[in-house]
């Protein structure tokens, strides 16, 4: 059999596209985004069909009420994330920052967006409430108010610490992770190095940086007194020395949404600006969802009339009537793909408001729309029961909760409304159901890349 030139080209194209379908290349995706730019024309040709859309817009007072709820939850979480005044040594100033995400190659490095970068230098401590989180590694030279933070869980991270038991004290060094347990408890544990008194094997461990011997880096000592975790002994093998570990005070895996950076008073700004309002106009771009529907019945997505040329970026949150609808999956030249909350595999960081108090849930993964029950199902995994974050729910098997977005991903701000649900308070994996409306065609707002939002 002879292959014509056309068939050969056809075959090679199919093979390349097959590989690229399974292992996408960002450069090729951008090129294809430009190549398929004329799809906007085809989408526009079908726009008269939107008369079949049955979308009902929410009334303005309802939207305003929902926006107020979102702001209340966000402000309450920010309040919890601020350090107590008693721990602010020597008049240190706390500068608020929202977590934007993890570094691509290291889960122990965060990107944060500061209210202001004034006074922030590499090495200053980062805290969340009473808990110590890590240190600022570097400020982003290209994007103002953006910094990298090394977490306490980093393999090379070390911080001086101490635990007191009665009138005895044990000094130690903490940082990095201890090996996970082999039993049911698979939660993260922090490593403890060189404890001065191994006989002390329980108690609260707090930061206690020793006076520097060579370099007088007073910045590091601003973190003194912040909580690292609870000390406990690890199960030692026969003949081995007793080792110690810490149960961390925070959920480092999924629970970092909002932090504060400590700066000394001599470098602190005269006035720390607040984090921008959640619904500030400058932070959102107006666009339209084209038509209500998706050709692949097992998916849940929409096309957005904004492309990368007009500011849309992958990861940007989609908002309508103060509700989080989904995220931009791909920003083409003229149209963007939007994944909705009901798209199987869609995931986002989540916060629950339970009896008015915010509680970090971690990451929710969508299992798709359950047609029989008329709800969207999400999978949620928690290493600890809800009562550890919210003592008020102790003794209750399940609680009613309102879901909001958490931070930790670029383009998704903390505090957007998702929906109401019922949560089991136990630890482990559970499936939760949320009643969500299917968005029709019409106006939506897309989160603008944060570097472009004015301070």
């Amino acid at each position: 059999m002879t292959l014509t030139r056309q068939k050969t080209i056809w075959f090679v194209c199919v093979l390349c596209l097959c590989v690229l379908s399974l292992r996408p290349e960002p450069f090729v995706e951008r090129v294809l985004g430009v190549f398929f730019a004329p799809t906007r024309v085809l989408a526009a040709l079908a726009s008269p069909l939107s008369v079949f859309d049955d979308e009902v817009q929410a009334a303005a007072p309802q939207v305003e009420a929902l926006e107020r709820r979102c702001r209340t939850v966000r402000d309450r979480y920010r309040e919890i994330a601020r350090p107590p005044a008693t721990l602010l040594a020597r008049g240190a100033v706390a500068i608020e920052a929202e977590v934007e995400g993890r570094a691509e190659r290291s889960r122990d490095t965060l990107w944060i967006r500061l209210a202001t970068a004034e006074g922030v230098r590499p090495g200053v401590p980062v805290v969340c409430g009473e808990a110590y989180v890590g240190r600022v590694l570097a400020l982003d030279p290209e994007r103002p108010r953006r910094a990298r933070v090394e977490l306490l869980t980093g393999a090379d991270f070390r911080v001086g610490a101490a635990v007191e038991s009665g009138n005895r004290r044990s000094d130690m060094v903490c940082g990095g992770l201890a090996p996970r347990a082999s039993g049911a408890d698979r939660s993260l544990r922090l490593a403890v190095h060189h404890p001065s008194d191994r006989a002390i094997s329980e108690g609260e461990v707090r930061v206690a940086e020793p006076p520097a011997l060579v370099l007088d880096d007073e910045d590091a000592r601003l973190g003194d007194g912040f909580l690292l975790g609870d000390l406990f002994p690890l199960q030692a093998r026969e003949g081995e020395e007793q080792r110690l570990a810490l149960r961390p005070a925070l959920d480092f895996a999924a629970g970092l949404f909002h932090v504060c950076v400590l700066v000394p008073p001599e470098r602190a700004p005269s006035r720390v600006p607040p984090i921008e309002d959640l619904f500030e106009e400058d932070a959102w771009l107006a666009g339209d969802l084209i038509l209500q529907g998706e050709l692949s019945a097992w998916r849940s997505g929409r096309k957005l009339s904004l492309g990368s040329g007009r500011g849309a970026r992958a990861g940007g949150a989609i908002l309508r009537d103060a509700r989080f609808l989904g995220r931009v999956e791909r920003a083409g030249a003229t149209l963007s793909d939007v994944r909705l909350l009901s798209d199987p595999g869609f995931s986002f960081p989540a916060l629950a408001a339970i009896d008015g108090e915010p509680c970090v849930l971690g990451r929710l993964v969508s299992l798709g729309f359950d047609e029989a029950r008329g709800r969207v199902r999400f999978r949620m995994q928690r290493d600890a029961p809800l009562s550890e974050s919210l003592p008020a729910v102790l003794g209750r098997a399940s609680v009613s909760a309102t879901l909001f977005t958490g931070a930790g991903e670029r383009g998704v701000p903390l505090g957007l409304f998702v929906g109401d649900t019922t949560l089991a308070t136990r630890a482990g994996t559970q499936v939760i159901e949320v009643e969500l409306e299917t968005p029709g065609a019409g106006e939506v707002f897309v989160r603008r890349p944060t570097a472009e939002v004015a301070p």
Partner: protein
């Protein structure tokens, strides 16, 4: 290319856009039972087009599909080009416009194409999602019925006849 053929290709873009739009809207109420009309349109065209025009039709219909879906462009184009190649094979051994062939081929093609897209979606999620091929079955079944009932109509869409290969 003659002006009549250019107009025909433009008409194909328009028809593909409307078929895709109607399919998207119907999907909201019919769910998985909505037939994959765009894929059936592609198969109907490949029964009549010249060999050299089949890849062009695959690309045009991929454009139309990408206007109404969030599936990745690479996967959609790969799927349509593969279906186009298979369609040429089918028509070389059978009368592709016949009722039985277009029904069976329509259902099978949609099943294969949907299965491919489901696989790509799972692969891009690092297989954290369950591969549930059965989700494609209702679409394949309804598409087979659609091919049986509406296949000849799709070939008679106004403005497309200059694209057909000459018949002896």
């Amino acid at each position: 290319m003659s002006s009549s053929r250019l107009v025909s290709w433009a008409m194909l873009c328009v028809w593909a856009s409307w078929v895709g739009g109607l399919q998207a809207i119907a999907a909201e109420s019919l769910g998985a039972w909505v037939p994959d009309a765009l894929t059936i349109l592609l198969l109907s065209l490949t029964a009549e087009l010249d060999d050299r025009d089949v890849p062009k039709a695959c690309v045009v219909l991929a454009f139309a599909r990408l206007a109404f879906t969030v599936e990745p462009a690479e996967a959609t184009l790969c799927g349509f080009l593969t279906l186009g190649a298979f369609a040429l094979g089918v028509r070389s051994v059978a009368e592709a416009s016949g009722a039985l062939v277009r029904t069976l081929w329509g259902g099978t093609a949609v099943l294969l194409f949907s299965g491919w897209l489901i696989f790509v979606h799972a692969a891009r999620s690092d297989f954290a999602l369950e591969l549930d091929w059965t989700r494609a079955l209702p679409t394949a079944a309804s598409s087979a019925v659609f091919a049986l009932c509406c296949g000849p109509l799709l070939r008679r869409l106004p403005g497309l006849s200059p694209l057909w290969r000459p018949r002896w």
